[in-house]
């Protein structure tokens, strides 16, 4: 019955992670985004549904569930409908390799893959396929431009992210996320690798299409970008994908650079959540601080600044790891 037990564990783990991400990360994340935006603009934000507006997103979801399901007549129905599943699924696949904490019996992770970092690099860039499908399937000019810009963004910021992941893997000598967290027992990698951390953070913001890199859904020119034609619950599923991806990126940054679940006194899971939300706050802070890039500036910034700097950073790190430390 060993395999039955494993199967049950996999099922339960999946359901827990999906519900946790959907309810805690995404629903609370949307509310947090609105509250922080309001705070930075001296407004009040959502306030009336539940105590201090805590149930606002839940009410919105229930509202969206009752909305009519509209598929434009000229759209490609198959691509249009499947994009809605691919975007959130690709975002949630990232969570397989993220260690949330540790217990007496071992680390709290869905599966500690021995190529965890490479797996993360692969799944985090899957989202763009869904976005391209949405953009193309809608047969809408705004959506198409949004989808193609998203591909440009992925093509450009995938490389700095990859180079930062390799740098950290080199420091830890492993691609498993649990080993990487264990390697930060004495010193968080953010101290040893401040440049890689900064580049990872910038490229992560670009990968999840947030301001200042939100050309994919630039409201002032593209209406809503690739999901202009999506309404009701389908729109909500795209939101799930976007916020899921944002939290996954922040969680990976915590795992790679901020020591994952490690911290004194408080329980490990709590430390992980504190660090995660601190990074999410930085993402939202950046959103209300910087104006949007132009697309050529965005591409140039990565190719002419981030990539050379991260290659140099990798070489310097390799020199210290291999030649000096041994």
């Amino acid at each position: 019955m060993a395999w039955g037990w494993e199967l049950l564990r996999a099922f339960v783990g999946t359901i827990i992670i999906f519900s946790a991400v959907a309810f805690i990360a995404v629903m609370f994340g949307v509310l947090l985004e609105r509250k922080i935006s309001a705070w930075m603009q001296s407004r009040l934000g959502p306030k009336h549904v539940g105590p201090q507006g805590l149930l606002q997103t839940l009410a919105d979801t229930v509202k969206l569930l009752q909305k009519e399901n509209i598929v434009p007549a000229r759209a490609d129905r198959t691509i249009f409908a499947s994009a809605v599943v691919i975007v959130p699924l690709a975002a949630l696949l990232d969570y397989v390799v993220i260690p949330f904490g540790t217990t007496r019996s071992g680390p709290l992770i869905f599966r500690d893959l021995n190529i965890g970092v490479l797996y993360f690099a692969a799944t985090s860039s899957l989202v763009v396929i869904g976005i391209l499908m949405a953009g193309w399937g809608s047969n809408n000019k705004y959506a198409l431009i949004g989808g193609l810009r998203s591909a440009a963004q992925m093509v450009t910021y995938e490389i700095p992210i990859g180079l930062c992941l390799v740098t950290v893997a080199l420091m830890a000598g492993s691609l498993s996320t649990v080993t990487i967290v264990n390697g930060q027992q004495h010193l968080w990698y953010v101290v040893a690798q401040p440049v890689a951390f900064l580049i990872f953070l910038i490229a992560a913001i670009a990968e999840v299409n947030r301001v200042p890199f939100d050309l994919v859904e630039a409201e002032s020119e593209l209406v809503a970008g690739y999901f202009s034609e999506y309404s009701g619950m389908r729109f909500a599923l795209f939101q799930l994908g976007e916020y899921g991806e944002m939290f996954a990126m922040a969680a990976m940054a915590v795992t790679l650079f901020l020591g994952g679940w490690r911290g004194p006194v408080l329980p490990p899971v709590l430390w992980f959540v504190i660090k995660l939300y601190a990074l999410i706050f930085v993402f939202m802070w950046v959103r209300w601080t910087y104006p949007r890039f132009r697309i050529d500036q965005m591409l140039n910034f990565s190719w002419k600044v981030l990539i050379p700097v991260s290659v140099l950073n990798l070489v310097v790190t390799a020199f210290f790891v291999v030649a000096v430390h041994r």
Partner: protein, 118 residues
């Protein structure tokens, strides 16, 4: 090893089912009231002109060609990063040669104007 990917497969399958669940719910409970204007493609309120599926200038195609080279490079770097410590000096110099050749390629593309928005 196989067990690991079995877990990932179950995650993907159960996940796809869970993501599809709201779609099933809206298919069951959403109201329907059809009239042709509702299914028009959105174009800021004016009648839609033409298709979006037309020839489109993908202005970053040169970037994507350079991207392919660099992405493959990074794939080679992952296994190197894991064993570099045990291989020692040799690993460093060999990878340095590899990276220098690639950076020369990037510089060449840069000088030839491939990294400009066309």
């Amino acid at each position: 090893m196989l067990l690991d990917w079995g877990y990932v497969a179950i995650f993907a399958l159960v996940g796809a089912a869970m993501v599809s669940l709201p779609l099933l719910i809206i298919w069951l409970i959403s109201p329907r009231s059809d009239y042709p204007q509702k299914f028009e493609t959105y174009e800021s309120g004016v009648p839609t002109i033409g298709q979006a599926w037309s020839q489109f200038h993908v202005r970053y195609y040169l970037f994507s060609l350079v991207f392919v080279v660099f992405d493959v490079e990074i794939i080679y770097l992952y296994p190197w990063a894991v064993v570099a410590r045990s291989l020692g000096q040799l690993a460093f110099w060999e990878m340095l040669t590899f990276l220098v050749i690639l950076v020369l390629g990037l510089l060449y593309a840069w000088r030839r104007g491939a990294l400009e928005w066309v």
